[in-house]
Subunit: 254 residues, 2 copies
Amino acid sequence: MRASPEGPSSQTVNALLKLREFILGGEIKAGERMSELLLVERLGVSRTPVRAALVRLEQEGLLRALPSGGFVVDAFNERDIHAAIEIRGTLEGLAARLAAERGVAQAHLEDLKHCLAGLDELVLESGVTVDSFSAYVELNEQFHRIIVDLADSAVLSRQIARAVSLPFASASAFVMVQARLPEAQTMFTVAQDHHRCIVRAIEAREGQRAEALMREHARLARRNLELALGNREMRGLVPGSNLITFLSHAAARN
Amino acid sequence: MRASPEGPSSQTVNALLKLREFILGGEIKAGERMSELLLVERLGVSRTPVRAALVRLEQEGLLRALPSGGFVVDAFNERDIHAAIEIRGTLEGLAARLAAERGVAQAHLEDLKHCLAGLDELVLESGVTVDSFSAYVELNEQFHRIIVDLADSAVLSRQIARAVSLPFASASAFVMVQARLPEAQTMFTVAQDHHRCIVRAIEAREGQRAEALMREHARLARRNLELALGNREMRGLVPGSNLITFLSHAAARN
DNA sequence: AGCGTCAGAATTGTATACAGCCTAGATACA
DNA sequence: TGTATCTAGGCTGTATACAATTCTGACGCT
């Protein structure tokens, strides 16, 4: 009873994907309790895979376990997003530093430069348009993935994977916002210069510099967030915005 | 059928504790597969709580999920320990910086200073003896816990909790080793000076300094590790040493 | 001798029944 | 009218039976 003709192979994965979609799509709101029996009805699978998926979503940080049992959808505020961004920048910075200090094989460096060239073409030549948007996201995530891989540490990879599992913490979380800002071209240009300098720093084994650049690079996300908070429409472009209680912008300091 | 008169309230927690003990105690070796039915026999609970415990242990990093299903006990090497220590230092450093930059309430600062005074008494006056050993570990962990709390971020707290869930990554992982080194008194003195300076930096809102100190503080663990690798006996004092494949010391460079 | 294929066994994934706990609602009392 | 207690319903924790897959080993073929 495991495999279906098409679609996810296991019921647990099936439930996990659907539940994540429900939560991120706003069908299940923040603070709401995840009743297992209700989810069984909505998902069409039994309680066992539902429970497995709930545990996984808790570890992702989307759910919070109640002391009395069961789970509720977790809520986040602006400070949580700041923290998540800083955590990502800090850990990716650590990865970049370790890669630089340890030195990386030429072949791996070529992969990174190839990725960089692809981004160059998009950002500098054609510009990031609506069409090339998903291509940018793809390349950007690939770039960050390679950096993490270059650190060559399973322990660190796992930690970073967990850090970016929050929807608004990933490297491309605010790209959608960034593209619609008046400063879009500037932001993309600066981000790409970060990329370029990070590669150079790693190649030159300048660990401290690679780390600092990676941190500053992550803070672009924070700037995008703050620029987005002005427009009410732009908030909807932030991944997982359903889970976020936006404070009034003036009051949200630090 | 939930609560027993004494002992852990749930079978899942029960299984979790016992399994962790088995793995860390070496009753189940690294690389070994965790057969659910076997564990059912050894633990005296049914498969459901066993499975729940296995998933949790995977998230802790002690187990690794096989693509074909099931789990094996994960193995670590010296580089993994280095990475885990750097991750802890980096994240605790972030916590210290955030606390410093944001500023902390006087009451919370008092808790920290109280903890510091307790450590002072142990380290400077009486010295860390076998008797006062567990008291030191207790206070040391309390100190680190307070720093994390001062950052006042649930997202960061969770991330750090995950980072220190690996047995050899916690703040007190190498204290047992440290106490038996010839340089013991020096190490404890330096560590305590780190503590003191970190408190001052946070109080003075010197974020950068607090962060750098916290990182350097974590690196004491690495020095302890390297000092311990000489003696074969001392290796046994490293928590989770069963999971670690010690390379020959000369070959183990970064 | 080596490799591919096929059956059996072991193991995990899934569904479901049962038992105990938490909570909300109602009722009785002050 | 407010509060405390009790009761019923729903919910989660646990156990277990069943289904499907993966792995192991042997057999047969080339």
